[in-house]
Amino acid sequence: MSKREFKVWRGDAAGGKFVSYPVDVEEGMVVLDAIHQIQRQQAPDLACRWNCKAAKCGSCSAEVNGKPRLMCKTRLDSLPDGEPVTVHPMRSFPIMRDLVTDVAWNYTVNRKIPPFTPKKDTQWLMQQEDVDRVQEFRKCIECFLCQNVCHVVREHDKKDHFAGPRFFVRIASLEMHPLDSLDRIPLLKKEAGLGLCNITKCCTEVCPEEIHITDNAIIPMKERVVDRYYDPVQIVIRKLTGKDKKD
């Protein structure tokens, strides 16, 4: 068994700092194990959110050595040896205490998205090729790491005008659904602020479910917004044929 130094951010909305803790390291340990050991042996009041420890509940998001990660999916042997491991709460959300942030903004955004609404007299039969594309998006565990890393939120603080990558994924899953009847393209362009995304792909880089957020959700949605609002030929064709709804 070896020892390793952990620098864990401690504090609340008023401020805080990194506090050092030595941790006994065993083979196969993940960062969340170390946090639990610190709670058990040195700091019982250390606040941290977790549930499944299997990378499926999306609760233990934090920034390990500066990178947005799930603590339960970050093995210690994947981090550089011989230097302390830093654990900081997600930087884009208000801090509650220690590693716990208030992610309520995400739920507020979520409620604004009109849910799945089937067509009238839907035949509830789907082909696999129609399911595949949306199934990727269903893997989302709502860890909000993508929301946290996105510079539109993190650096430009556009929470009031931007839904964020997690919700572009959700909207894409509804828009591409063959049995859904609603049109969320105006929502995407206006309230959800899809145009604020500059496709720099940090959301994709951090997604623990490896969803191709940018390539498979955001860019296809941007192209649909182009169809509707920017492509002059399509706009003229729609005007001429009187077809102003989605295909």
């Binding site: 959300f93 063959p178 145009g195 296809p220």
Partner: protein
């Protein structure tokens, strides 16, 4: 919370200052390589287009046309502007790449530092509008550059195939192959692989549909969409491979024209 805004929670995001991060890996390496790669290509291609010379190799019966000078509008249509005619064409591939989703990512990061890398701070005091305002709102015209670039690509295919025909002693064209023919063919394959992975193309070919199984036409488009998706997955790689291949093809032809190297005829 007003009904048109998405949030009410108090914000804790905000500018952290350029380079502010807890990351300890070499996050600056990627953007630096992109910066150097794009600057190097920009300088070389501008110079190569500017010269207006050494773009067509015709020695030993060969006919190798530099991709920067294709189509040869001077030869084909007699268009001879007071500057190098390459500029009459080059805005098309330039516009195609400048509005390409992959290149956008790379230059927003490497040139505009917006963001320079993930979870790394940006310069303070900038107004951010993303792609909602001029000039970046023009990125929405990417598909039109795709259409134009596809026309240019057809000319490049013609040039690459033409490079396999050599003028024989009696003035007849003979099938043959030189190192230059192979280089030109590989280049046009790389350029095609780049175009095939274009996100706008992927949308237009089938991605815009919600139902892939609803008609015979939809099923065909689904298959095409699947094919395009294969190239799309490697769009970044093809972007760089084709950028270098196009520069190196010009360089090869240029050096042959200048007599610095000699094309080897294989048969």
């Amino acid at each position: 919370m007003s009904d048109t805004s998405l949030a009410s929670a108090s914000a804790s995001g905000g500018p952290h200052g350029l380079g502010a991060t807890d990351r300890r890996d070499s996050w600056w390496l990627g953007p630096m390589l992109v910066f150097l790669g794009l600057v190097a290509f920009g300088v070389y291609s501008t110079w190569a287009a500017w010269t207006g010379t050494d773009y067509l190799l015709q020695s030993h019966g060969a006919y190798y046309l530099s991709p920067f000078y294709s189509p040869d509008v001077k030869d084909l249509f007699g268009i001879a502007p007071p500057f190098s005619f390459a500029f009459l064409i080059l805005w098309i591939p330039l516009g195609f790449r400048a509005t390409c989703y992959y290149y956008r990512k790379s230059y927003y990061r490497a040139f505009f530092l917006d963001p320079v890398a993930c979870a790394v701070g940006e310069p303070k005091g900038r107004t951010y509008r993303g792609e909602t305002a001029f000039p970046f709102i023009l990125q929405n015209m990417h598909r039109y550059f795709f259409y134009l670039a596809t026309i240019v690509l057809l000319f490049l295919w013609f040039d690459a195939l033409r490079a396999f025909f050599f003028t024989g002693p009696g003035g007849h064209l003979q099938f043959g192959m030189g190192v230059g023919s192979i280089i030109m063919l590989l280049n046009v394959i790389a350029l095609s692989a780049f175009s095939m992975g274009c996100n706008s193309f992927r949308h237009l070919i089938g991605g815009k549909m919600d139902c892939f199984s609803c008609s015979g036409a939809a099923r065909t488009r689904y298959k095409l969409w699947k094919g395009v998706s294969v190239f799309n997955l490697r769009h970044q790689e093809w972007a760089w491979i084709s950028l270098f291949s196009v520069g190196l093809t010009d360089l090869y032809i240029r050096l042959c024209c200048m007599g610095i190297i000699h094309d080897v005829r294989i048969f």
